[in-house]
Amino acid sequence: MRVPLLRLAHSRSGDKGDTSNIGLIALRPEYYPLLVKYVTAERVKAHFAGICFGEVRRFELPNLGALNFLLQQALGGGGTISLRTDAQGKTLSPALLKMEIEISAREAGLLL
């Protein structure tokens, strides 16, 4: 079954230079293992093709049920150099929630 991350998580994003940080937070504690299992750095990099031109790194915060992603070269130069409407990547967090993951029928049973 394919589900968008919007059903599993909320998020917030910001910037450090040309790197975007996206925090992805499980809506319920039982969703966190699904995020860890399916929302890998590689998949996030593929999802942001055409937006992120550098490396994607992932960090785990099991205490918050959250993952933190760093997307390098994702802000058109970043800060004051970027010409983008969203030079600070504030809206990249919902862009991540558009990503769909394929989960098993048993895992789908966890969803509200």
Binding site: R12, G17, N21, I25, F59, D86, P94, A95
Partner: protein
């Protein structure tokens, strides 16, 4: 016995934040400290320019009318104010504050400055002395931008602010310092935490991170159940109730709008962090993976368990430099075929700029309403779209092509595709780009200067 609690409020999350929030924090209920963040990364260069024109300027001028409004109440209720409003000229800011205090008859009030962060005049001696100040991200040497540098400042932490409080200051005005230091310093001062008590310093740093962006932890910009967050028009800014053991509660004044919940605090905790196990400040390294959150009632979240590690031996340095020019122009196209018209206009503009022989480092075309936020992730737009804004940005090392670009937008209203509007604001403005260069400097190479003066 109830544990002793210190209430530390944030009233300003960034330069340009609500003018009313700090007043509400002082008047709306009990607090002991008010922290105010005025410095964005590019702010220092703007202030540097202001000071070069007038030696009495170069600080956050918004701070002075605010002080006029709140100072008498702060003194009466023993609320101490900590602000990085000093910019590149903390002593001028201090003098203006002292004038206000004198007019209000607040004799005996102590006003402190923390300076020494400005290393602009020392850049050459530092680089020739073996401190390269290379770009922290790319490793490029600072010589690449040397002749374009506008400002250079070390980020100090909580320690010099705590020293100012120890010396009796009721107002502490700093230059560049960490946002988290504004919150951690009162805890060090009140509880006497030693400089190597890494867990408690880390806990105070986490408190600082949670409240440093103002209402962004009290329901502002919150995605989780956003439509149910009430009365954003009178949103409460955050307050940390700090305890001696390092644990604390995040809350806001009773009766204010917004919300403090596990979700609002979590969203702020993951905001603008790198490796969560190593949140580095001049004071310590905080491990965000050790944070424990608990719901402590309505609009109350308790934070405990934070662990820290020894601070590094470097200060972060923020250098600003001129990086060329840019301009952004916009036009709005209406139904029918709004998107197709906007795309044709963009193509016409591109061909005209080519014909003029203008060279840019970058030309960016966005269609607001279609793809400006999510680029290639945006779905194809509806053919019935009511309107689309064409937004074209250009950037170049020299001013001329950018200036010429700004004169090519308006003509499209009469000589381009139809049903276009939205040019009442006139030609786009050419902006000089001030970019930001992060670097490191050993702590031995910069020392904070704390000065305390008493209002006579």
């Amino acid at each position: 016995m109830m544990p002793r609690i210190i209430r530390i409020a944030n009233g300003q999350g960034f330069w340009g934040d609500s003018l009313e929030a700090p007043v509400q924090q002082v008047m709306g209920g009990p607090i002991d400290y008010l922290g105010l963040d005025y410095l964005a990364e590019v702010t220092m260069s703007i202030m540097q320019k202001q000071r070069s024109r007038d030696a009495r300027l170069g600080y956050a001028r918004d701070f002075i009318p605010l002080i006029e409004r709140i100072l008498a109440t702060c003194v009466e209720r023993n609320i101490k104010v900590i602000a990085n409003a000093g910019g590149v000229n903390p002593s001028a800011c201090r003098d203006a504050v002292v004038d206000v205090a004198r007019e209000l008859g607040l004799r005996g009030l102590k006003v402190a400055t923390v300076s020494g962060d400005d290393i602009l005049d020392r850049l050459d001696s530092l680089s020739s002395g073996g401190y390269p100040l290379s770009d922290l991200d790319s490793g490029r040497p600072i010589s690449e931008i040397r002749d374009r540098i506008q400002s250079a400042n070390v980020y100090f932490g909580a320690a010099p602010i705590a020293e100012a409080l120890d010396r009796g200051a009721g107002i502490v005005i700093t230059g560049r310092c960490t946002d988290t230091g504004l919150t951690l310093a009162p805890m060090i001062h009140e509880f006497g935490w030693p400089a190597d008590d890494w867990n408690r310093l880390a806990s105070g740093t986490v408190a600082g991170h949670i409240i440093e962006c103002g209402a962004q932890c009290t329901g502002g910009n919150c995605q989780f159940e956003w439509e149910s967050i009430e009365r954003l028009e009178e949103i409460g800014y955050p307050i940390v109730e700090a305890r001696e053991d390092g644990s604390f509660v995040v809350t806001k004044h009773a009766g204010t709008g917004g919300r403090v919940s596990l979700a609002t605090v979590k969203e702020q905790l993951v905001y603008e962090i790198g490796d969560p196990a190593a949140y580095i400040t001049p004071d310590c390294i905080a491990d965000f993976t050790t944070i424990r959150l608990a719901d402590a009632g309505r609009d109350r979240v308790e934070v405990s368990g934070v662990q820290g590690r020894p601070a590094t031996d470097s200060f972060k340095v923020s250098v600003s430099y001129l990086a060329g020019y840019k301009a952004v122009g916009t036009l709005v196209y209406s139904w029918p075929d709004a998107y197709a018209k906007a795309r044709m206009a963009a193509e016409v503009l591109r061909l005209r700029l080519d014909k003029l022989g203008l060279r840019f480092d970058e030309v960016l075309i966005e269609f607001v309403g279609v793809n400006a936020c999510h680029g290639p992730l945006a779905p194809p737009p509806s053919p019935d779209l009511a309107e689309v804004q064409l937004r074209v940005g250009v950037r170049a090392g020299s001013k001329d092509p950018v200036e010429r670009f700004t004169k090519e937008i308006a003509p499209l209203v009469l000589n381009g595709p139809p049903t276009v509007t939205g040019f009442a604001g006139g030609r786009p403005r050419v902006e000089e780009i001030v970019a930001y260069w992060p670097a490191l400097l050993p702590k031995t190479q910069a020392a904070a200067i704390v000065e305390v003066i008493e209002v006579a």
